[in-house]
Amino acid sequence: MLEAGAAFVAWLGMSVVVLADGRRGLALGIVLVTAGLAVIVFQGAGPIAAGALGVGGAAAALRRLTHGPSGWRVMPPGSTPRVVLCVAAGILVLWISFSATTAGDSALRFAILTVLGLSVARVLSSDEPSTLLTAIALLALGIAATVGIGSLSHGLGAVTQSEWPYIAAALVAALAGWLPVRTANVA
Amino acid sequence: MIQILSGVATHAVALLLYPGLAAILAFGGLVELVWMRLSVPEPGWPELSRRRPTPVAGTIAVGAILASVQLAAPYNLVPGEERSIVLAAVGLAFTVWAELALTVEFVAEPGLLLVIQMCWLLAVLGPAVQPESLRPQVLGNVLVPGLLPVKLACAFLYLLCLPALMRLWPLAPPTERRGRRRLDARRVLTWFPYCGLFTTLFFPPQGDDAPGLLRFFGLTVLVAAVVIVAGIVVQRRGAGVVRGTYTRVVTPFAGLVLATVVATSILMK
């Protein structure tokens, strides 16, 4: 039940990131996604992995809180398509996680698919560097979380007990916000 | 080495004397005189050309003597298994075009003449397709009923082509009608090979004895006579009729002969 709730929180956080343009909204989104993922990862991969994700997410949220367009700007005018996107994506991922795929870690699958899907959607539809770097940070956390899925033993399926992917993802998430990006690269 | 040298000597005699150059000039000279006497009755004898021969005459001579030693003439020093219908056909083919090397004016209707020559090649080589033998005397000796239609058709096509190939047709180029008529060296050199090849291909070979010699030359003279008569008839028909005949009759007939050869090969297979 806890994992289901955490998965919902992760989805809520991703929706905030998709719908918000202001730095506060984005920071809130990061916090929610981090929290959701950390809780779910804690169940499967243990405290160190969950802690790494948490620290990474927190650093990203703190950085985002101080950089980017001011305010919340949640659901600015013309964001109806984004709302539809969040809801539709949630439903689709729900169906995939809980019926199309079987075995125990469906909440983790839901959270990961939500984070991956909506973060790449956000990158493809925005030009604002702060939004982009936010999505990248969450994408990194989502990738790390995939370590916990499945039980295959080699190749792409190799599930390692080490926490290196989580730590690396945390680093990427934390540092992403600091990347000096000029708004327009056009000379 | 002795065997090779004697072979060379034998073939040299055959090429130069009999059935080679000497026989060609003798037979050709006589028949040419008869032709000139019958085709255009002018008083006096035709004059001989006093200029040095051109490479044309040289080429025609080489081609003619190469063809003549392939004939099944009695006492021919070239052994029977060494004779080849392909050598005869190609040798004679060269004689038709040598003059074109000098100037275009010496050859009338070259395009039509080329088609006629191809029909003649079919008439000469057609009989060899089914028997798969290249010896002229063997082809002459073929009396298998199944092959007779091809043989007869080819013989008739052969005779149809000769007046054009020997330039007996009225389509001769203008340059030939100046002053007193000269002996046509080209025709002199080709009478014997053309008529002798017909005798060899379409009549059984004669023995190496006097009667055989008489029969071979009798038949060859007969072929020459038929060609002369055909030449005279063709001369009188005029250029237009002759051109039409060769275009609309001889060429389709050659197609028929080709069909006969193919059909015979299928049936005899």
Partner: protein
């Protein structure tokens, strides 16, 4: 798997060394050294890390850094394809590991192929391209620097995780996407007006062959793909770097060197491209011979474009001429005797 990716990393290192050695201006050399070094570190990371997730993270970092490099295109525009690649590969990972119906495996295969195409910059996920961009900021960096290692890691990683059915879908999709890129790159390299764009399309065409090689799930297909990657990294990329100066001066020449370069780019004998094509035909014949016929015909598309690219090299002099000669000699050697290269990669 790691021997193959290690070898590809060595290829990229050599290519970087060539670019640094024969880069015309000292100012370019410093920025190239920094960017190239970061890129090389990234490729080493992709190849060396123990798990696929870490490879994806390394790829994500490279993508972000490359997007941040100043060039004609905006950060957002250049970020999209790499991020899409990472996301698709991660999604494929989820589907590959999840339990469920066979369709999931197939979707995993599609995700891997689409992610690979997006990562390299092939159809249908082309990277934005501006002829004025410096090499290190242009999609050429993905084609010839990061892409090769990514391709080897992804394809090698699929062994054992995709079932027979999904594996077949993976191979077939790779071949399909490869053929589309072969056709598009081959025709565009010939018909496009801009010569620098023609170079880019020629990379796309070469990658089409590499994908077809990877898609042929036989040993000869993998060998062919490795040789195509070799000719991308250590033939097409160095020659492109060497031709940048002439491209700016728009100097077209028709000397022996231009035509020999055209032959190398066209994959004519005796260069490495022809050996790759022989192996590709061999692999295709083992799988499905009509594919061999399609590939043989498609291979002719390289010629017209290559003649044009060969002429765009201009007349290299001094150090550049030496560099071009080295590249051609290396490609002839590998073209005639590719065995050491293949054995080093464990093929």
């Amino acid at each position: 798997m790691w021997r193959e990716s290690a070898e590809v990393v060595v290829f990229t290192a050599f290519a970087l060394a060539f670019a640094l050695t024969f880069a015309p201006a000292p100012t370019q050399r410093r920025s190239l050294m920094f960017r190239g070094g970061v890129g090389l570190a990234g490729t080493i990371a992709i190849a060396a890390v123990p798990t696929f997730e870490l490879s994806l993270l390394a790829l994500l970092v490279l993508g972000v850094l490359h997007a941040a490099v100043n060039g004609k295109q905006s950060f957002a525009t250049r970020l999209r394809a790499p991020v899409l690649a990472v996301a698709l590969l991660a999604l494929a990972l989820v589907f590959a590991r999840a339990q469920g119906s066979d369709v999931l495996g197939r979707f995993a295969a599609v995700g891997l192929v689409a992610g690979l195409a997006a990562g390299i910059g092939l159809l249908p996920y082309l990277h934005p391209f501006d002829p004025e961009d410096p090499v290190s900021a242009s999609p050429i960096a993905w084609f010839a620097f990061i892409g090769p290692v990514l391709a080897v890691v992804v394809v090698a990683g699929t062994h054992g995780v995709l079932g027979p059915d999904a594996g077949g879908a993976f191979g077939a999709t790779l071949v399909g996407v490869g053929l589309v890129n072969v056709a598009w790159g081959g025709v565009a390299a010939w018909s496009t007006e801009n010569t620098i764009a023609a170079w880019r399309y020629s990379f796309i065409a070469d990658w089409g062959l590499a994908l077809c090689g990877f898609g042929l799930t036989v040993a000869d297909g993998r060998r062919a793909a490795l040789l195509v990657i070799f000719s991308i990294v250590l033939c097409r990329l160095p020659l492109y770097v060497a031709s940048r100066q002439a491209l700016r001066e728009k100097a077209l020449t028709e000397r022996p060197v231009n035509l020999v370069v055209a032959a190398a780019l066209a994959g004519s004998a005796p260069f490495a491209g022809f050996a790759a094509r022989v192996l590709l035909l061999r692999g295709a014949t083992q799988m499905f011979w009509p594919l061999g016929l399609v590939l043989a015909v498609a291979m002719l598309l390289w010629l017209p474009g290559s003649l044009r690219l060969g002429r765009s090299l201009g007349l290299p002099r001094g150090r550049r001429a030496l560099g071009v000669a080295l590249v051609l000699a290396l490609n002839v050697a590998v073209g005639l005797y590719p065995l050491p290269l293949l054995q080093a990669a464990g093929q």
